[in-house]
Symmetry: C2
Subunit: 71 residues, 2 copies
């Protein structure tokens, strides 16, 4: 798949970092955000071009604002 645009890499790394800070697994984040386990992995690896609604879901699952995902 390999999209790997800058913005996707940036976003994926941010999710990964924030997820680890919370000390939860991809599976747990997937569960909390109501997204699929493998999909979370793909986002962190910048292999998918995530949509706005799912960005919101992940922000909620991480208990942060969308703003924090782009800092």
């Amino acid at each position: 798949m390999k999209l790997n645009t800058d913005i996707l890499i940036l976003f994926g790394n941010k999710v990964k970092t924030l997820r680890k800070e919370k000390g939860i697994s991809q599976e747990e984040l997937a569960f909390r955000s109501d997204l699929h386990r493998t999909y979370i992995g793909m986002i962190e690896r910048a292999e998918k071009n995530i949509t706005l609604k799912n960005i919101e879901k992940i922000a909620n699952a991480l208990e942060i604002s969308i703003l924090d995902l782009f800092k």
Copy 2:
């Protein structure tokens, strides 16, 4: 289409507001962001669940950071 989720409405309104502040038309924004005229309209009306790459395009076209789109 009519998606109209909160986050999409919020985002659409933000784009519209910022676009008008810059004093440009949907057509002009479409041109600058390399997206279609009607597509920009759909985003402002919250009828499409936009992806991250296109969010970036619009931010660039408005000469702002993605962060500003979520404030």
